[in-house]
């Protein structure tokens, strides 16, 4: 359904209003698709990097995903046959060897159970290769496809999963967006393209020489082959190789769960809107907030003084005796919002316990207001209410989940439910980027 063309979605950059701009764009877009068959847009080839390592079929690159940065202990098993080639021998590992315990001692990586024992000294990179594409290795209970690398160094072991980008996306898309409803399909397509764009950006701007990308929220969540999601598979296959690019280069793009109705402007996303209304834009179409369908669209959370104090203890590495003393003898905690963005998202906050001041900013705000289990606050977008009935409790009324930049994933779902295609969804959130067939 896609052909090898650049598809320019950024035709209309009217700064008037985000919503109006979007509508107009959508109309123009249909018209544009009509002409597409014979139309070539220049600038496709210029975004293809030359230095990148490519492998697999048709130029699909491999990506190196960091599973663990500093291995302490882990479990490892195999399904299918994995080959481990060491100087002294070539081993085949499969289900029959059971679960190995991996640990790092001194300068050695130890892999062992009651049947096998491998001691691998630094420095070396130990590579487990699958013998067929359906083979999996099971690392800490999660099945993964592709190669497993232990990069053993004197200071520690880095665990890396190397695999083709399209396979990698199978472990990303289902964890980034709900994939259980057919009605979400256009949003899942949009997410597949956004996640692929992020991966390609990371391939061009790797974290370090050992791996390209993290497997958690530092980049995007990757959970191997843990979840089988047919709708995600369809979306990945149908959009194979397609990314978003800014004519000459692939930028770092952003997306987040739920904006709560207000998207922050970033250079690639809402410059058109921000020219008119400032640094944010409403995630609005048909006079209705797109992400209203999200479970995080509005929320209320309650935190006790005790929970917040223990969060501060962790965050600022306070002596736990001090915190215990505060709790036992009584104390007062003041919280003051120091700086909000124009949208209302909180940038800086100051906490004070007795005579100690704790300034917190950015993501840290969400951590110091985590709940007892350590689950961080959904977003920085909230206000306080008094705590009726208790002086030790704080209520937070908030909106959205995530940082609010780039595509709002639940907004994308909302747009899909309203009958928009993935192209118009991407055009809505990334008006300054174009779709490019990268491989």
């Amino acid at each position: 359904m896609m052909n090898d063309l650049c598809i320019d979605m950024a035709m209309n950059r009217s700064p008037k209003s985000f919503r109006a701009g979007f509508r107009k764009r959508a109309v123009l877009f249909r018209w544009f698709l009509f002409l597409l068959a014979g139309k070539m847009v220049l600038g496709c080839a210029s975004s293809v990097p030359s230095a990148m390592e490519t492998a697999g079929k048709e130029g699909e690159p491999n990506i190196r995903v960091c599973l663990v940065e500093n291995l302490a202990a882990a479990t490892l098993g195999f399904e299918g046959a994995y080959i481990l080639e060491l100087e002294e021998a070539r081993y085949q590992l499969d289900k029959s060897i059971g679960t190995l315990n991996a640990s790092f001692r001194g300068t050695d990586l130890i892999l062992k159970n009651d049947r096998r024992y491998y001691e691998l000294s630094a420095p070396q990179t130990v590579v487990f290769k699958p013998s067929a594409s359906g083979d999996r290795f099971i690392f800490n209970d999660i099945p993964y496809a592709g190669e497993l690398w232990f990069q053993v160094e004197e200071g520690g072991v880095t665990v890396v999963n190397k695999l083709p980008v399209e396979t990698y996306l199978l472990g990303v898309v289902p964890f980034e967006i709900p994939t259980n409803q057919h009605e979400y399909q256009e949003a899942i397509y949009a997410q597949a393209i956004a996640a692929r764009t992020y991966a390609i950006y990371r391939l061009q701007n790797p974290i370090n020489s050992r791996y390209d990308i993290y497997s958690d929220v530092q980049d995007q969540v990757y959970q191997g082959m843990l979840k089988k999601a047919p709708l995600a598979e369809d979306a990945i296959t149908a959009t194979r190789g397609i990314i978003l690019a800014n004519s000459s280069r692939v930028d770092k793009i952003f997306f987040h769960s739920t904006c709560g109705g207000v998207v922050e402007a970033t250079p690639d996303t809402l410059t058109a809107a921000s020219a008119g209304s400032g640094t944010f834009a409403y995630d609005l179409s048909d006079n209705d907030y797109n992400c209203k369908v999200s479970p995080y669209y509005r929320w209320v959370e309650v935190r006790t003084l005790e929970t917040i104090l223990w969060n501060l203890q962790k965050e600022f590495r306070l002596d736990s005796l001090l915190v215990r003393d505060w709790l036992e003898t009584g104390c007062k905690l003041d919280i003051q919002i120091a700086k909000r963005r124009q949208s209302g998202r909180i940038e800086e906050m100051v906490m004070r316990v007795e005579d100690q001041l704790f300034p917190v900013s950015g993501f840290r705000i969400r951590r110091v207001l985590a709940d007892q289990t350590g689950k961080v606050l959904p977003s920085n977008f909230f206000f306080f209410t008094e705590s009726p009935g208790s002086w030790e409790k704080l209520y937070l009324i908030g909106a959205g989940a995530g940082h609010g930049e780039g595509m709002c994933q639940w907004g994308a779902i909302g747009l899909a439910l309203k009958g928009n295609s993935y192209k118009s969804i991407l055009g809505f959130y990334y008006p300054n980027l174009s779709m490019v067939k990268f491989y």
């Binding site: 209970d141 003084l305 709790l327 003041d334 206000f383 008094e386 705590s387 009726p388 704080l394």
Partner: protein
Amino acid sequence: MQRHLRFSIRILLFLALWGGWSTPAYSQMPPDLKQFLESRSFPELINTYKRDRVSLLTEGKRAKIIAAQPYTVEKGYRCQAFAGTQQENSQRVAEQLRALQLDSVYVIYENSLYKVQIGNFDNRRDAEILLDKLRYSKVQGVWIVEADVHRPKSIEEQQAFQQQQLEEQQFEEQPGYYYAIQVFATNDQLKAAQLKETLAGDLDQPVEAVNQASSWKVLVGKFNDRSGAEEYLKKLKREKFADAWITQVPSP
């Protein structure tokens, strides 16, 4: 603006009645409040409420903490039998270990992994002894980790705590006072009055809003003896006010 104020008070009252629930669920809000919060743009709500400064207070609860935690937490060693992302698996492993008559089996959540750990050791060698025992019992895949371990408080510490609790319980009944249950305190007279009105309709005990020590307190009930108040406190705590407590009030 009028509308905002009205909803502001209603949201507050809703939270007041909700106070005791440990996990608030937005979905439990009345539909018109939800509708109000959802249809307004959030920057507008923030600008309207402008609640950017709060203070939380605790008056200390030495007794409560010792009672709940008769141990201290220290750095030490444990045997770890499981680390994975599936909570069910961690519970299963923990149950298998408990079936072996092991008493200090813990399931913890750390660095996005569920972990099953056994024992509280201040040195590695003791942990290794347990490890050998486990292996002897055919428990596979166990290794030693550095962890936060529990050290039980000494007998003396626990006795001192019990003594203190006894002393607290025997506080004297003063003539000219009655017992009531405090459910809410604020420095806003209007809020106290609003809550009093709401509660008066719901409860079978007298409700009053009194000014004490420069703040407004909403008190429920008039009891001549502490046990009567305690009985009613249990009921209130079950229903809505987990944080209510008994207070003594001078008779008029």
